[in-house]
Amino acid sequence: MTLFDLAIRSMRKNVKHYYLYFFALILSVVLYFVFATLQYDQAIVEQGNKMISTAFLAAGILLVFIAGIFIIYANSIFLKRRSREIGLYQLIGLKKSTIARLLVVENTLLGIGALLVGILIGMLVSRVFLLLLLKLVGFETAISVSFSMKAVLQTIAVFIGIFALTTIQMIRMVYRNTLLSLFNKEKVGEHPKKPKTAAAAILAAAGVLFIVFGYWLSERMFDTNFFLNIFGVMVSTVAGTYLIFRVTLSWLLYKIRSRKEGHLGLANSLSIAPLMHRLKGNANSLTIITVLSAMTLSMIAGAYSFYYSTEQEALAKMPFDFIFEDEEVFAAEISAEMKEEGIEFQHGTMEILVTGGQLEAGALAVPSDPLYIAVVSDEELRNAGIDIEAPGTASASLHSTSSLSMFMDDERLPADLYFDDLEEPIEIAAFGEGNVINWETFYTQVVVNPTKYEQLKEELQASGSVEIRRIDGFHILNEQDLEAASSIYHQPKYYGANPRQDYYSTVQDGMQSNGLMIFIAGFLGLVFLVSTGSILYFKQMNEAEQEKQSYLTLRQLGFSVNEIMNGIIRKQLFVFGLPLAISLIHSIFALKALSYFFQSSILVSAITVMILFAAIYLLFALLTVGYYRKTVKMALR
């Protein structure tokens, strides 16, 4: 029998161990190939957008890392399961080099198979992903996915690299281990030691404290040194998470267990006890999974929020569909042109007082810079179709979407605003959400009532530090006319000093870039979730195999399958629930910090993503429980 025959035979024998590993390989290939295909697809390349190709490139590199780590990890889990078999080969006198060659042949066959199947499936499903992408980006053109040789070659190159690493891993396993350790590998478990009470208690508390401190700091990230703070938040939450898994959890479990004084009960015997025995070995992977889950979750929720809030964000920046500043001629001309086209619109004219000013010290969390101010009367805004009212006869409201708006909160009100050449400040009684005049004018807007407006106009004119300008604001009344109006507005003849920006094209651009972002984030998130879920599942499969004898004993002692499963499900609540719960809480705080960047609420999108995330974890937990149930049932026929 040649080595090749032996490899085929051993693969056939091992198929029940292999098929999941094979499946994991195929899945990685499919996802990578789809990604590579999209990267080179005509429909996307033709967009000619530099940002798109850069984003794809960066995400592609990240994807290689995730896939590589996942495959190597999965390989190590499955190698452990086969250690006895490898030991047996050595026992019957096969040379280490022969065994290594056997494994290499097996690995090569598996790799070729996975690449073939993966690329084939990838070709079938890439169209679905491309359609999804284009839908998100907002193109609804008929497209066909072209076969990309480049994508095929790139996929093959990447995976040959990864398979080379797993091959090295296998060879090391054969050469580095003694026969004895190979035979005992499957049984290796740790035995919980009594924690040194004082030290353990302190460390256990430290884990919680680190996390709490990280959360606390994340709330104050913008107060002082932003980058130092964000670094502090990361370090403190990661360290805290590790301590929670490594010390706090085992300390807690130890406490619970010793309080039971031996009367542990079946469910605890099947959850607390085995958890304690494997905590040390699992702390690292649980920490990594939790932290990365939290990051992925925040990334997706963030990207989704951007996408979800594109329109609101644009509206906050641009309350008018478009404006002209001191360009009465253009305003008149475009009105005529739109009338001709049958586009219904509302046209309003406002007079603004442009001047400089500054908020009183302490009005903001950050030192306040000089402001470029436009004073406008609420009456004129209402006439132009902006529904707004100044807070009082003597006071004003402040409106902006510049970085300033991140630090505005009502707690610091009222605050005084000093105009450059006026003694008397004006009281700001409210911060408005979003602009009242399109942002391309760069003004921070101060809204007052007409009486106050006239008074300020007089005073400012007297001091000579004011410029009086005219704004023409347009609202298109029917949604279906938006596109036509936008293209009229963008005609070269209307070009002024500033680049023209209007609401409609801003939303379209936002949809495109945010759609791409959500697609890439979602794609990476999916790959990541599937990887971590699979790793937890594979690990639990291993544990189930190791505990088989215990289940047989319990069945013989007269415990029913369901009674045993109760304990096992309780264990899975820890294994899947804890990383999920901690990463959800982490990401809630991360998103809270992130929400400073949004004008609109990201609650809905964040909750949507979190529910989706939890659902995928639940799916893997259910798969795991199913595997356990099978194992327990088969333990005693």
């Binding site: 004084e261 009960g265 015997s269 006890a273 004993t553 002692l557 007269g558």
Partner: protein
């Protein structure tokens, strides 16, 4: 006393209130059509309360199969089994599980302790679903651990104790639920002779002090000399029975050896 029982078995085949276990015409075959192997061929057996019954016989005689069938772990293909008045051959799987947990105790050759549990946690496992009050369970644990000499080991893990200690731990687990009957499958199989005698002494002790009924499968004549009765199986049938009666253990041991010699020279398990 034992002669009386012996007569009772001969004269009266009907179940009476004294018998813990009554098995009638037990048959068990394995395999499917065309390749059926009959392992047990019509075994009648009755065990009285407080008996310590040994089952002996050459390999392949069906000792372990008989034990498994009687202990409700396996089902007979024919015949009826009654334990403490309950007909177990009519029970469903779930009922059987509950029955095993509440009424029977088990000692296995390779201990089958849960590695992740301490000695005490292992022992209390059968009463872990909370039918027994914690106080009673604790008292029961103390008394059994005392008899078996494992009180000191309560908080140790199985990997920290010797084979003999593990088997006493396993015996304690079998006794904690005050079972009607304890089944032991080659309990001394993995022990050295000193640990084996000590365990057998413990079992005999428990049998006497707590009036626990024990059925033990073994191929070791020395082990079965601790029993009050030894049943010999051959080819799936009862070959003969020996009662210890008032004899010394040495004399009983000699008698067992004699039967074993007749039973089947070369097919006796090598010791």
């Amino acid at each position: 006393m034992f002669t009386k029982i012996k007569e009772a078995i001969k004269t009266n085949k009907k179940p009476d209130s004294h018998s813990v276990l009554q098995a009638d015409n037990i048959g068990k075959s394995f395999g499917s059509k065309g390749n059926v192997q009959q392992v047990l061929k019509g075994i009648d057996l009755r065990v009285e309360k407080g008996e310590f019954v040994g089952i002996m016989g050459p390999s392949g005689a069906g000792k372990t199969t008989l034990l498994n069938v009687l202990a409700t772990i396996d089902r007979p293909t024919e015949g009826t089994i009654t334990i403490s008045g309950s007909d177990i051959s009519k029970m469903k799987d779930a009922q059987l599980s509950a029955f095993r947990r509440d009424r029977l105790g088990f000692i296995f050759q390779d201990y089958n302790l849960l590695d992740t549990l301490t000695v005490k946690e292992n022992i209390l496992l059968p009463v872990s679903l909370g039918k027994m009050r914690k106080k009673i369970a604790e008292a029961e644990f103390r008394s059994i651990a005392d008899i078996l000499g494992i009180t000191e080991l309560a908080n140790k893990y199985p990997h920290e104790i010797s084979g003999g200690q593990k088997q006493r731990n396993s015996a304690a687990r079998a006794l904690i639920n005050q079972p009607s009957m304890v089944f032991a499958d080659e309990p001394t199989g993995a022990l050295d002779s000193k640990a084996a005698s000590s365990l057998l002494g413990n079992l005999a002790d428990v049998n006497e002090k707590r009036e626990v009924t024990i059925m033990m499968v073994t191929h070791d004549p020395l082990a079965s000399s601790y029993c009050s009765r030894v049943v010999f199986l051959k080819d799936g049938q009862i070959y003969s029975e020996l009662y210890k009666g008032a004899k010394t253990r040495q004399a009983f041991f000699q008698e067992i050896l004699n039967v074993q010699a007749v039973l089947g020279g070369d097919s006796i398990d090598a010791l």
